[in-house]
């Protein structure tokens, strides 16, 4: 049915666009949550991925917005007081999260899938297929419950095979001849003739290490030793997961229950114990031990994929060293203190070149104006000067004498004017400026300008920069 038709039938229809990635992410989160019932969980997304890999796109069965979780609950139900209680708990809790769900327990994966989606759930929203009753429970279900492709289902319908029971009555050879081996495989899997397992996602160990001490420790040497021990363990864990740390939290637990924490972060993933220890180096000195620290933990809050480190060439080591140095300086002084020169395309001098934080990504402007001479140091903001003596209003000329920062400057040589007009496309404009490079009797060379505001006819002189 098209959306337009649906809306025609029911005008107040709420329509939401599909967000497949978000749905997938949500399903994954639910799957991880379901591991409270059993460590062996998988989701239909993952199964679909695997089917895709087998190059059979027809077997992707879940539409967008739908999804299922497989849980291999063998041997787990007694922990919850029985299968019934476990399922009720599962469905209720998921309802509380906000999803409507249906659950089923059966002895085979196929049967569970079928019962969850197509079973008669009554009011409970869950079904349990008792052991050995696979054929009977599955018989009344429609053939779609066998996870078949659309074409197969269509074909079955045309011939009048509507339920699984119908299929079970037919001789197996006929089925495989007419509908292929997949149908037979599914049927066998559902009734338990063939085993079908769930390939669960490997459990990702959290990158967390903890050490407790038999006696409380108090001095920085001990903290450093504890940190090193924990780093060794953590780096081993990270290596098995193929990641490197980008943000580490070092927590110390004092005997009185209070906590002290230290953070270290890096701009690229690191897995080397010595390097990570280096990042924490100065943070450890100011830890107040209180009455003593009896446990410390180390948690890698943020990690990034890091392949096996290769033998470094001397070149790489140098650039690595520099990056490490920047990490160290960033950790101690903060991101904003590390600056990089930026040159942009702008006529206005104070916009054309700035020093800005190294974390801002940018693209340096192609510098074509190589021959324009600019001062070595620029004043932010330009400083007004007091002109002494007459300044010609007709000619554009710098004043012969002016006072800047209480010092008198007598101009002997000057070059200019260079007119820099305001950028009309920007707000907050400066007035029109006429720049001069001047030199005074003592050999000091300055960049001064005369600013004329369009509104008031006044002109003012400023020093903007210093030339070598």
């Amino acid at each position: 049915m098209k959306l337009a038709d649906a809306r025609a039938i029911f005008p107040k229809l709420t329509v939401e666009p599909t967000q497949i990635q978000k749905d997938k992410a949500m399903l994954e989160k639910i799957r991880i949550w379901c591991s409270r019932y059993s460590p062996w969980t998988s989701s239909s997304e993952i199964q679909d991925e695997q089917e895709k890999e087998k190059k059979d796109p027809n077997l992707i069965l879940e539409g967008p917005g739908g999804g299922g979780i497989w849980i291999d609950a063998t041997g787990c139900s007694h922990l919850f007081g029985g299968e019934e209680i476990m399922l009720t708990d599962l469905v209720n809790k998921i309802n509380q999260i906000g999803f409507v769900s249906k659950a089923a327990i059966a002895e085979t994966r196929g049967a569970a899938w079928a019962l969850a989606r197509y079973g008669q759930n009554n009011q409970k929203n869950w079904t349990i297929a008792p052991l050995g009753t696979a054929r009977e429970t599955l018989a009344p279900l429609p053939t779609a419950a066998l996870r078949l492709s659309y074409t197969t289902r269509l074909n079955l319908q045309k011939v009048g095979l509507h339920t699984i029971g119908d299929l079970l009555k037919l001789p197996r050879a006929t089925l495989s001849a007419r509908y292929g081996t997949t149908l037979l495989k599914r049927l066998d899997a559902a009734i338990g003739k063939v085993s079908e397992s769930i390939s669960a996602v490997k459990y990702k160990e959290p990158l967390y290490v903890r050490i407790s001490f038999s006696e409380p420790i108090g001095n920085s040497e001990d903290f450093r030793a504890a940190l090193e021990k924990m780093l060794i363990l953590l780096c081993q864990k990270m290596e098995s997961q193929g990641v490197g740390a980008r943000r580490l939290i070092f927590t110390l637990y004092r005997v009185d229950g209070s906590i002290e924490q230290r953070l270290a972060s890096a701009t690229h993933p690191i897995r080397d114990v010595i390097t990570l220890k280096y990042l924490f180096n100065d943070r450890i000195n100011d830890i107040d031990p209180g009455f003593g620290v009896d446990a410390t933990t180390l948690f890698a809050e943020r990690t990034e994929a890091l392949g096996d480190t290769q033998a470094k060439l001397s070149d790489d080591r140098k650039s690595n060293n520099f990056e490490l140095l920047i990490d160290r300086l960033t950790n101690r002084f903060g991101n904003e203190k590390i600056l990089s020169p930026r040159i942009t395309e702008s006529h206005i001098p104070e916009r054309a070149g700035t020093l800005s934080s190294i974390t801002e990504k940018h693209r340096n402007a192609d510098i074509k104006h190589k021959n324009i001479i600019r001062p070595v140091r620029l004043l932010y903001p330009p400083e007004e000067v007091e002109t002494i003596g007459l300044v010609s209003k007709l000619l554009v000329e710098p004043p012969s004498v002016f006072r800047w920062r209480k010092v008198l400057h007598k101009i002997t040589l000057s070059q200019g004017p260079e007119r820099i007009s305001p950028e009309w496309w920007r707000l907050g404009n400066t007035g029109t400026r006429d720049y001069f490079q001047v030199e005074d009797s003592r050999g000091r060379r300055l960049w001064i300008f005369k600013e004329t505001n369009q509104g008031s006819k006044t002109t003012r002189w400023y020093v903007h920069g210093l030339f070598p």
Binding site: N321, F322, L355, V376, L379, Y380, L413, Q437, R442, L466
Partner: protein
């Protein structure tokens, strides 16, 4: 007689080599002269004056700015050195700025192009306290990461400069201190100490006719040099080429001074 003289000369140069080595603290089993890495400034008179034939790289150098007005000149001198260094060596230079020096203006990036420095090869660290800057410089030298370390320091002493000199020596990297001289002075363990003063320019040609400022002219004084002698020169910064050269002696209507391109 001639033999004696040559013997004496070789004996003296050997002695010099040994003393130099002990001073530099390099422990080697053979007492042969390991020439230190140097940076040629490109100005032959300056290079031949300096004890190692150029600016010693694994050492601390200090540049004193006598008055605030000379800040731009000293900064430009620094940048010229940095530019020739970055041309011969790989890596990124670290410049630790002192926020108090910002009183004389911030470094304006477009001038980097004029000096021939690539913007991606220079990183600034802006700090408030001298001790922090000294710490950062030492860390940088010990890490062997940057190509050169510069710091703007107002107050320090012999001990701290000695630490920097040792660190620079170990890492074989140059460390440069830019020092606002009007804020005080100190005893230093630096290998060379310079003082840069800006002087009047001598325009020529068209500039002279139009009464425009000529190329910047400075008085560059090497007032302390380990294993060498002090000296004083007049240097010119060629605006067009972007390099330093020795200024021609003053004479009326003088032509362009002899300039040497940076290696």
């Amino acid at each position: 007689m001639i033999n004696n003289r040559t013997n004496c000369r070789s004996a003296i140069s050997d002695l010099r080599a040994r003393i130099g080595q002990i001073e530099r603290g390099k422990k080697s089993t053979r007492l042969e002269f390991i020439p230190p890495s140097v940076l040629g400034t490109g100005i032959t008179e300056l290079d031949s004056h300096l004890p190692d034939g150029g600016l010693t790289l694994g050492a601390l150098h200090e540049i004193t700015i006598p008055t605030p007005a000379d800040t731009a000149a000293a900064t430009s001198f620094c940048m010229s050195l940095l530019s020739s260094l970055l041309r011969t060596r790989k890596g990124i230079a670290l410049w630790c700025q002192n926020s108090e020096m910002l009183d004389t203006g911030e470094i304006y990036p477009p001038c980097l192009i004029q000096h021939g420095i690539d913007q991606d090869r220079l990183i600034f660290l802006r700090l408030k306290r001298d001790d922090d800057i000294l710490w950062a410089m030492e860390e940088a030298l010990n890490s062997h990461g940057p190509a050169c370390v510069l710091g703007e320091i107002a107050h320090t002493n012999l001990t701290k400069t000695r630490r920097l000199q040792t660190a620079a020596n170990e890492a074989d990297l140059p460390a440069i201190i830019l020092h606002p001289g009007w804020q005080g002075t100190w005893n230093s363990a630096a290998a060379t100490r310079w003082r840069i003063k800006t002087t009047q320019s001598r325009p020529y040609g068209l500039a002279k006719t139009l009464n425009e400022p000529g190329n910047p002219l400075w008085q560059v004084e090497l007032y302390r040099c380990r294993r060498g002698t002090p000296g004083i020169w007049k240097m010119e910064f060629q605006n067009e080429k972007g390099n330093l050269s020795l200024a021609a002696p003053a004479s009326n209507g003088s032509d362009n001074s002899c300039s040497a391109d940076i290696a």
